[in-house]
């Protein structure tokens, strides 16, 4: 250990303190580690004072401090330096030139009828990711006609959710993904329990999960954590799910999210830009994780994605997401659906 020096986390490695523990998220490599509150306080001391000075004031913890610093160096999360002034924190502003980041479109005959005008509007708004969802069997040919329009848009990534169809078969799903490189993820849901596949692909996923409606959305777990810079900055400044998001449901209604009831127009008579300008539409986009009850005490709040469609108290705009089973006070993940305190909200939304 270089005692005369300072130890700093790299600027892209962010410490987030929770109620009973903290995390360091490496926003460049896309991973995080959990550390104790004592270790996060130690990092704050190391930021202000040289290692030598910190050691002098912690006689009994010398070995522990050394092994902690070695551990962070090994993970490439921090570095020694001669001055603690040379590495300023990253700029925490979040600015994107696009009015829309991503759009969810529920597939139906209706949305297909208007797909060219939807994609034209989304292009004007700068949308780069589109999720196409079907809860019931849907023709790959029709989805292909959506994809054929993509070269005329600014979309770079299309994610597709479809129920499994014996008529289409695994080989045709594979072929479809291979022939359309713009498809970043294709999920074939509602597969039978005895369904088998020979080879895994990251772009084509098969699941036995039954996705029957928009009410299946909103699942919060460690799997959806996004330890990356834009996601972190978004979370600090706005709502990590609904900011700059728009959805078109199967009836053509323009919404924040297909799981929400409130509609801001219909693509048959309104354009998406009109909906975005409504104050009610913007309401959810500005709710930050730091504003939300319980989430504001969670160490994962800045790498997590929020959900405003299903919340623990439907009367409270700032209530914790219903489908999150994490308790930041005990650091335990539990099944949210069996939590007795959530049953009223589950019944309210008719989820079970």
């Amino acid at each position: 250990m270089q005692a005369n020096k300072y130890f700093l986390l790299f600027s892209n490695c962010i410490l987030t303190k929770g109620f009973s523990r903290s995390i360091i998220a490496d926003l460049q490599s896309g991973f995080y580690i959990t550390i104790t509150t004592e270790h996060s306080e130690l990092l704050n001391k190391l930021k202000k004072h040289s290692i030598k000075k910190v050691l002098e004031n912690s006689d009994n913890a010398r070995l522990e401090i050394k092994s902690f610093v070695d551990y962070l160096i090994e993970l490439n999360l921090g570095h020694y330096c001669s001055s603690n002034k040379e590495f300023p924190p990253i700029n925490k502003e979040f600015k994107l030139p696009y009015r829309i980041i991503d759009c969810i479109i529920e597939l139906s005959d209706f949305t297909y009828k208007y797909h060219k005008s939807i994609l034209k509007s989304l292009t004007n708004l700068g949308c780069q990711t589109i999720e196409l969802r079907a809860y019931h069997e849907f023709s790959l040919k029709i989805i292909q006609s959506f994809l054929n329009e993509m070269p005329n848009t600014r979309v770079r990534n299309v994610e597709i959710y479809l129920p499994f169809s014996e008529k289409i078969g695994i080989d045709n799903y594979n072929k479809f993904v291979m022939e359309n490189p713009i498809v970043g993820k294709m999920v074939i849901h509602s597969c039978a329990n005895n369904f088998h596949i020979k080879n895994n692909s990251e772009f084509l996923l098969f699941t036995k999960q039954i996705i029957h409606s928009a009410s299946c959305c909103g699942n919060i777990s460690q799997d959806i954590f996004s330890p990356n810079l834009p996601s972190y900055l978004l979370s600090l400044n706005a709502n990590s799910c609904l900011h700059k998001k728009v959805s078109i449901d199967k009836n053509g209604d323009i919404k924040n999210c297909p799981s929400m009831k409130q509609s801001f127009g219909n693509i048959k008579i309104n354009n998406i830009e009109e909906a975005l300008n409504k104050n009610e539409f913007k309401k959810y986009g500005s709710i930050k994780k730091d504003d939300i009850a319980i989430c504001k005490d969670c160490e994962f709040r800045h790498i997590c994605t929020d959900c405003r469609a299903y919340v623990e108290n439907p009367e409270d705009l700032l209530s914790k997401p219903l489908k999150c089973g994490y308790n930041p006070y005990t650091n335990v993940w539990e099944d949210w659906s069996t939590n007795p305190l959530k049953q009223n909200a589950i019944n309210h939304y008719g989820l079970i």
């Binding site: 926003l27 460049q28 490599s29 896309g30 991973f31 980041i101 991503d102 969810i104 780069q128 990711t129 999720e131 969802r133 770079r156 990534n157 994610e159 959710y161 291979m178 490189p181 970043g184 993820k185 999920v187 597969c191 369904f195 088998h196 596949i197 020979k198 080879n199 895994n200 990251e202 772009f203 996923l205 098969f206 699941t207 036995k208 999960q209 996705i211 299946c216 959305c217 909103g218 699942n219 919060i220 777990s221 799997d223 959806i224 954590f225 996004s226 330890p227 990356n228 810079l229 834009p230 996601s231 978004l234 990590s240 799910c241 994605t305 959900c307 489908k323």
Partner: protein, 76 residues
């Protein structure tokens, strides 16, 4: 192969790599499909490589999927 002159280029990495994941750009992970000769960024979150604003969305577009229900070739 002259590693000194070529070790920073993708050509060097492609020629030496035998696993499907290639460290093409520093710590970033991509997958190279030898049949189609396409290089794609690996899927969001599934492999803890979620920092790819250019090809995948930087946030989960929706939260429909429960990863534990995904069917793999090794069983679930």
């Amino acid at each position: 192969m002259n590693m000194e002159s070529d070790e920073t280029t993708n050509n060097y990495i492609f020629s030496e790599e035998t696993t499907p994941f290639l460290p093409v750009n520093l710590k970033y992970l991509t997958k190279y499909n030898r049949e189609t000769q396409q290089v794609r960024v690996s899927s969001n979150n599934f492999y803890k490589a979620s920092t790819f604003i250019y090809m995948n969305n930087f946030r989960p577009t929706s939260k429909l999927l429960i990863l534990q229900d995904i069917i793999t070739d090794a069983g679930q």
